[in-house]
Amino acid sequence: MPLKKTGILLASATLLATVTACGAGTAVQENPDNYPSKELDWTVAFGPGGGNDIMSRTIVDILKQEELYPQDIVVENREGGSGAKGWGHLLSNSGDPYVISTTSGSFITTPLQADTGWTHADFTHIGLFATDDMLFVTPESSGLKTWEDWVDHAKDKGKVSVGGIGTVNVDYIIQAALADQAGYEIEYIPFNEEGQLQTALSSGSLDAIVSNPGSILGQVESGDVNPLLFTGPERMKALPDVPTGEEKGYEGLVSMPRGLILPPDAPDYAREWWIATMKKVVKTKAWQDYLDKNHLTADVRWGDDFTVYLEDTSARFEKELKEQGAI
């Protein structure tokens, strides 16, 4: 008897779970001139408080302040599987112009390492607005204050321990590319989270790390770490003395694309509407403030230019990761 009852309970609970799962909408035909006329489903493929989330909420805030989107916007964090879930949500709403999401590094790396059922090429690309670059830092106690100091130290030591987040990730590609081109050997130690990465540096376990400027700048200002190199195309406004990788002649320093996408096969009128609207958004003061506060590099590319950019970046990621044997 208990077993039978268990079966019934399991069945009813499964039913409950199925019912809650059925929320996916379908594409609806409408007059292109009326777009947008419905509530917008804004998917954040990561958790609250992360880089992707903050950008999404900033854009939504600007859209509301400037009254650019006439209907309601519902922001939802659909995190899981390194973005696979959130962007998978867009995939399952193919053709729907009322589902939208923002991109990040995982938009390119996750399909490279797992069978997501989609790649960056499947989606409708609206535009790229900025890139997220990395700061290369050493602990203050190391006494290494310039990039040249570091390279000399690394060559002397034979092999240095460097850290970053994850293996199939921007961090790893950057560390490997820098070591390759500057001619020193590294032992790359992957971490799962920023907190443990930074304490590994401060405890003297690691010789250097790459970190997001937003999360490490506090320690740069207090003098706990020395910033040696910035991987973006231009120097950071907050750290004008720190050279970029490009100035030092390094290539292949990839960055995270911060852009906007619609589901696969979204209608052209929706894409055009969003390109026109986002052109207004990136001109606002609120957007500039956001870029400055989060130390992002403005890099604006619309429509097909964004598509080309994604293809290039993805090819570079794949090449670097294959060379390093990570995938």
Partner: protein, 551 residues
Amino acid sequence: MDIFANLVNGIIGVLSPTTLLFLCIGVLVGMFVGAIPGLGASAGLAILLPLTFGLDPTTAIVMLAAVYYGAMYGNTITAVLINTPGDSAGVATILEGHPMAQKGRAGPALVIAAAASFVAGTIAVVLLTITAPLMAGMAASFGPPEIFLLVVIGLLTLVVLVGRNWQRGLISVLIGFAIGTVGIDVGGGTQRYTFGSTELINGIDFIPVAIGLFGLGEILWTLYRGGHRGGATPMRLDRRTGPFWPSREEWRLARGPIARNTPLGFVLGVIPGAGATVASLIAYSLEKGLSKRPERFGKGAVEGLAAPESANNAAATGAMVPLLTLGIPGSASTAVLLGGFLMWGLQPGPLLMAQEPEFAWGLISSMYLGNVMLLLVSVFCIPLFAAVTKTPFRTLGPLVIILCAFGAFAVNGSVVEVGIMFACGVLGFFMRMYGLTPAATVIALVLGPIAEETLRQTLLLDGGMEVFVQRTPSLVLLAVLVLVLCAPLLGAPLKRAAAGFVRARRPAGAAGTGESGDAGDAGTDGPRGTPGDDSGSGPEDARRHEVSGGG
């Protein structure tokens, strides 16, 4: 002193009717969110954080601190009443909390937990105020080798959890390790046991496993034993023991553990990584080790509830140290808070307290006020929650299953996780049937992957295994480890002698586990010794406590 002036200023800063209202709402919302199985403090914060976008940082932080504490207490409620922890740090709470509820002492268990949390929270805030800079240095010195050793110490406490039946305990731990290997291997980037599924690439989350093993597993087990046929159901409150205030005896037993484990929890909480979980486990095993009658543990010993609750709460405050002084999140909840800092336009880092004193001290003071508010709210709400145990199992059981499914779904909105939860429910049932220890499985699942990751990081660092003896903090931890390993060898004969001594003295000195109630319904009670515990203590003993206790 200057820092206390800062603290007082901070408290005055947040003491306005509006913020108090926010505090109250935050605590209530947090409590209810936390009371849903699986939704812990970090989930509660993540749900509410987006609502604070664009708010003034100080107002936002008041509400979030309140939610933080509310949710932590909400977790305790579910842990005690339906045997399901809300986060990994809550596993130790269920070990004694739930047995207490089964014995009809749900009310006292919840009051003790609230009081332990409050006292620990208060002391921890004072410790935070005084020792933050010192502690920051400690947090910064914890690299992979130290975190690995700390996790190993935590895993050693499993020996205490599984008790005498070590083969079955070992199997339970290995099941946990096995589940923990699923997902992308952070060391090499290869996928392990994901079968190509994107849902599994981040591994199997602790939450659905814990809800399944504890919550659903318990329901299935109760059904199997015929609990739904009414009568003597383990979920029901014994009608004769109605009081919700703990007896004086229970207060007395809880005092020592709270005093001991608050500083312990605070110090371990400062360490980024598994601080709070390890702290609550060590606190539990410490009390079991110190106890003169360890055989009471697992059957509803008050000390075993007060210890992890105070350690857990102190650790939550300790986790604020690296966040405020270094800008480094030490736990899942503080990681969400760090995201909040960025969202509100603050720059986390070592200079935060100097540059934004109003905000930093506002945060510390609202944590304290959150504690006070929590105590007040919980005193009003406990009778309500404790009434849950009076609900017949045939009503409560299905409700709990729905809550379990909802909780498993709500955390990540994943149907796959609901499936995992049900699978673990069945696993939990069979584990109970064959005498395995679900608590050991869950702890192994949480600590196993951290141990693996940090050990591999340590081995990759130059120096290999020697690193462990080359670094001072890791040497200290190694010494602790050796101590923990040797203690049972040396302790066993001593304890046996002590136990013999206690038994000899029992007729005079022994008390029940504090089963004495208030004077009102005492007359009709008769003997109240816990079955199998204190059969020696008769009516006389009980009456003696009625006179002295009667809270």
